[in-house]
Symmetry: C2
Subunit: 464 residues, 2 copies
């Protein structure tokens, strides 16, 4: 008969002690699979505890799948892969930390803590779980759930004047994932033209996928058409709304020229990466290139990383009709990579107006931050040593510094002073000389009270 | 001055009517960006409402980012991409539906509705949001958050006796996504050997990525070594714990032979897809191949789709140390595709014992379902017309039918009778003759009260 030492002095209820002792024996293999346990009455008598105590312990073990009860035949041990480790490795979650460091960071464009609409989001998530039950458990179609795609289409119509059919939208876990899908969709024979300077991940993705790509120079209007025409690129990957990191907003004429280039030959495409178009602070909104695309040449990609949170991993692309059909034929076997729960929640978030409200709130906040940092620069020593280059859009701008110091030295000295900065030259492939002395100012993650200290530090670094 | 008709008879508070009217004018462009609004006092007098009413309406508009207040200078309209649509397309979420149809489905191995630990999961999710705050907003490192990888390592140690370093684990949005990453990691010069019959998506993924792959025949012990040696495959993609759809559990000897094959030449690898190893109902657990891999040849892939929910999109792979280093060099620029919130929540779910408890509960339930469906088959007409082929593992088994009807006819007749079935031959590439007359019985999504009706329908179809 099972023999355990149980006692009130051990600080836990008797039934819990008994439960833990039997569980331990099962895990250690002392009690074998299919072994019959003593009856409740027998064990209670043997251990001098009440029958209720044994009943509770057995109940807990049944609930957790360690033992099973057969009517009139008692309890037996269930088999299971329960190899008890001699010393289980610790798996403690790290303590939630307050701040990564004391550095002021002008490199990150993540959101600040209080900006994510936590309470609304979790309310909608609970509501989704309650309303949709089983549907939230199903894996979703390759393109994402219809409700989310409809919400995105409606949002784009209202907010950007874009007429998009939800059936041409593909939802995926981040833009990087969608670029991977696009390589599979368009085919590996293409040469992808990427902006230089530009966001380094784009080239890395094409390299990791072992497809041809070309770094194409920029001029003051964006991707240089002249260089494009001399390159083997037949698919270009651009961000006309607001280029990272130069901040260039591509003027209408260059857009038309690139659309014309794409229409000249079959198989040419433009991937329009519209990653922070929601944050334009002046003038009229500029229409997305896809809205002027009459030849089915533009693939539009956008993300909720900048507008809601980079931790969300929800992006989408809009395919021209013939590519949308091709996607359904070739790639619809894939499961959508975004959890259904997030998809339904985001659909509600957009549909019930929270998304628009959130963007407006963020836009106000970013504009205030932008105004504050620009004012701080103008009021500081910096104003005689630097020019602000900006086009009233996006979450970053450039600061051209008059200095003899190298960019490398600027970055190092700033870091010594507790300020993390990045320079435009770090985003250049090849000769970066003409891009020297431009600091990329990402301000969205700075708190208001960090703005003046950050500008003062920068001024001191440049003065030194 | 702004003139609106407001009145109590319209059923909404006055301030809300005023707020909506001004918002509408802003959206329609009747009020232009930077236009100054009348002072609260003036507008109140003009509309014959109280100043508080105007104050509330302006307050709401400020909160939502439509207008802004400047101290002592009044209110003005903020710019924004607010193109009012003539007829916004409807974006209503479809009504949560109760059940997809009245069909009994033996093809799906999704979970039944009440199996997902909703209340625990959402409790942990709320706790995660409260505890981790800002961290949940950050995009996570390519391999996934450390806490989750530590929890997975600890779980594998305790549950499967596997000794895994969390630094070699890569978390991703579904196994399909991880296979895409593996192609990039191993390189595109490989030929991938896939099981035939087998899970069709595996081949589709290699095809979509345009890499070479070979369909390799199975024998009664799994992937045929003889055929493998005659094929160009140097990476094999197998599921030794429980093959889909044959249900074969690969015996130790074949495992050793395949490990030996992999060690013979550099660049050979085994992708061990362990997708439903948690559900083994008898005997001792069989060690994963990676646990016997002394030559760094095995890449282990598993998923939480089967154990928690297919809608979760969380899978992981364990890389041998040299590939883990290579991943960090080549692919760590990628953002992890699983939302941080889910990652932290799953880490807690595992660490606080809920995952083990859940698996044990599910295992009991599946075993009961399995026992019930096997008993129902034995008690029905089917028992003289069919053999059950099973190895006490996984969420499906095979039923070999003695019949002259073709598989196609069986599937059609079953569907007419309201029963959805799949045959083994549908999973075969090429000549499927020797695999005819085997029904793949996926039982995990059937409710207990659907078991007898499903078996009776199947018996009737075969008898007919």
């Amino acid at each position: 008969m099972l023999t355990y030492e149980l006692g009130k002095k051990r600080g836990r209820p008797l039934y819990e002690q008994l439960y833990a002792a039997i569980k331990n024996d099962i895990c250690l293999g002392k009690l074998q699979a299919w072994e019959k346990l003593p009856s409740k009455r027998d064990l209670a008598r043997h251990l001098s505890v009440s029958v209720v105590t044994v009943e509770n312990a057995y109940g807990q073990l049944v609930a957790e799948g360690y033992i099973s009860a057969k009517a009139k035949r008692g309890y037996y041990v269930l088999p299971g892969d329960r190899i008890a480790p001699p010393q289980p490795p610790p798996a403690s979650l790290p303590k939630p930390c307050q701040a990564k460091s004391d550095f002021l960071d002008l490199r990150s464009n993540s959101l600040s803590e209080n900006d994510f609409p936590f309470s609304v989001w979790s309310k909608l998530m609970r509501k989704t779980m309650a309303d949709y039950g089983k549907q939230v458990l199903q894996s979703t179609p390759a393109q994402g759930i219809e409700a989310l795609r409809q919400s995105i289409a409606a949002h784009l119509y209202q907010f950007r004047g874009m007429e998009v059919h939800y059936d041409d939208i593909v939802v995926g876990a981040g833009a990087e994932y969608l670029y991977n899908l696009l390589i599979q969709l368009l085919g590996r024979h293409h040469c992808f033209g990427v902006e230089n300077p530009g966001y380094p991940k784009i080239g890395q993705i094409y390299r990791a996928n072992d497809v041809a790509y070309a770094n194409l120079p920029m001029d003051e209007a964006g991707l240089s058409l002249q260089h494009l025409r001399r390159s083997p690129a037949d698919v270009i990957h651009i961000s006309p709304s607001h280029h990272y990191p130069t901040g260039i907003v591509m003027p209408g004429r260059r857009r038309q020229e690139l659309l014309a280039w794409a229409s000249e030959q079959p198989g040419r495409y433009i991937i329009e990466d519209d990653y922070d178009s929601e944050f334009r602070f002046c003038d009229k909104p500029i229409a997305a290139m896809i809205s002027n695309d009459r030849q089915e040449r533009v693939i539009y990609v956008n993300t909720f990383s900048k507008t809601i949170s980079p931790a969300m991993r929800i992006s989408y692309m809009i395919l021209p009709p013939h590519l949308s059909r091709s996607f359904k034929q070739k790639l619809s076997f894939y499961s959508c990579t975004v959890p259904s729960l997030e998809q339904y929640t985001l659909a509600k978030f957009i549909q019930e107006g929270y998304f628009e409200q959130h963007i407006n709130r963020m836009k106000n906040k970013y504009q205030s931050k932008r105004d504050a940092i620009i004012a701080a620069i103008r009021e500081s020593d910096l104003h005689t040593q630097a020019d602000i280059l900006e086009q009233n859009a996006g979450l970053h701008f450039l600061l051209r510094i008059h200095t003899d110091k190298s960019d490398r030295e600027l970055v190092r000295r700033a870091e010594e002073a507790g300020l993390l900065i990045a320079c435009l030259s770090q985003y250049v492939h090849g000769n970066a000389e003409k891009y020297a002395h431009h600091i990329v100012v990402n301000y969205s993650s700075l708190d208001f009270d960090q703005i003046k200290p950050a500008v003062d530090k920068l001024a001191a670094v440049i003065r030194a």
